[in-house]
């Protein structure tokens, strides 16, 4: 098992949990909020998609999101509530699929890719945490970050199911 295998394993796990959490949900259901200052599903999807774009850019691949979309879902951005401007959840779901496919394909076929230098200045790339300087470290940060946000989807999925009973 090498570095590519580790990242593929975790990305696949993330993707499976993520798709399971959003399956069959409507855009408005993805805006429901739990008590407190947590984020809704729409924000979490956009946030994950933007960090996936960060990995695509790092790897020298094409990114999918527009600059204003990335800004809307950046770390520390405002929560999204019903009526707020946001990207439609259908587009975000599509971004989640295409970015996953591209990353898995790259990890499958470019077996030495992770040993290259990240494209551009890593400090400007999405997901730079101050503790990473190599592509491998940046992937580890971004994929680990993604896993935690994927976990946030589970209670929101339950909230949607409960709301349907009312």
């Amino acid at each position: 098992m090498n570095q590519n295998d580790i990242f593929k394993t975790i990305l696949r796990r993330n993707q499976e949990s993520l798709l399971s959490a959003i399956e069959g949900l409507t855009h408005s259901e993805m805006l429901l909020q739990l008590p407190g200052e947590g984020n809704c599903i729409n924000w979490i999807l956009g946030h994950i998609a933007s960090y996936r774009d960060g990995m695509l850019v790092d790897s020298g691949l094409r990114q999918y999101m527009q600059a204003d979309e990335i800004e809307r879902y950046a770390g520390g951005s405002q929560p999204i509530r019903p009526g707020d401007a946001c990207v439609n959840s259908t587009r975000l779901s599509e971004l989640i699929v295409v970015s996953f496919n591209d990353l898995i394909d790259w990890l499958e076929h470019d077996t030495n890719g992770l040993s290259q230098n990240p494209a551009g200045n890593i400090k400007d790339n999405i997901g730079y945490s101050g503790v990473c300087s190599t592509l491998t470290e940046h992937f580890a940060q971004n994929i680990g970050h993604e896993s935690i946000h994927v976990g946030e989807l589970n209670p929101l999925h339950e909230l949607v199911l409960e709301s349907r009973k009312r």
Partner: protein, 185 residues
């Protein structure tokens, strides 16, 4: 001449394996550190009574999630030949498919769960910082869960599993803060 070439080849392969091992240790070290930070941020300042609060639906409470992560972290410890922290009682309470924990359920105090998670994190971090860690050895049989044939694959699954549960803590923390009067809603 052939002997020299063989030796040079072995040295090159050995170096490549060493670089790969250091790379894997770094990946797991970063992920474990990130998970632990998220876990600590989740339970920081939360009392036992707040740890059993429930969100709508079939989600688990914070106490169950922390115990569940502790059980699986013990699996990581045993995978690398270290002693586990928890026993059969905790496995029954927090293992896969165990019953949800409510206010009046038997459970482990959150302060003990925090100690277990902190201790496991320290041991795993130290192991990952050693150059000699071999991720291609076979994962031991007879573990509570065995998620891959090699230690590397097994740990990758367990780290991701832990991270996803760590993510579930965020909304439970918000719920506790709301109950404490510190939330905005």
């Amino acid at each position: 001449m052939n002997h020299e070439r063989d030796e040079a080849y072995k040295a090159k392969v050995g170096y490549r394996n060493l670089v790969e091992t250091i790379g894997l240790s770094r990946i797991f070290g970063l992920m474990l550190g990130r998970n632990q930070s998220a876990i600590e941020a989740g339970y920081d300042g939360i009392e036992q009574s707040d740890s059993v609060l429930q969100l709508p639906g079939r989600s688990n409470c914070m106490n169950w999630i922390l115990g569940h992560i502790a059980v699986y972290r013990d699996v990581m410890l045993m995978s690398i030949g270290k002693k586990p922290y928890v026993g059969k009682r905790e496995l029954t309470l927090y293992g896969y498919g165990s019953d949800p924990i409510y206010e009046d359920s038997a459970c482990v105090d959150i302060s003990r769960l925090a100690e277990v998670l902190d201790g496991g994190h320290a041991i795993l971090s130290e192991w990952l910082s050693l150059v000699g860690a071999d991720f291609n050895v076979e994962a031991p049989h007879g573990l509570y869960v065995r998620k891959g044939d090699t230690i590397g694959e097994h740990l990758a699954h367990l780290m991701a599993h832990e991270a996803i549960h760590a993510g579930e803590l965020g909304s439970l923390r918000e719920l506790a803060l709301v109950r404490m009067g510190k939330g905005w809603k």
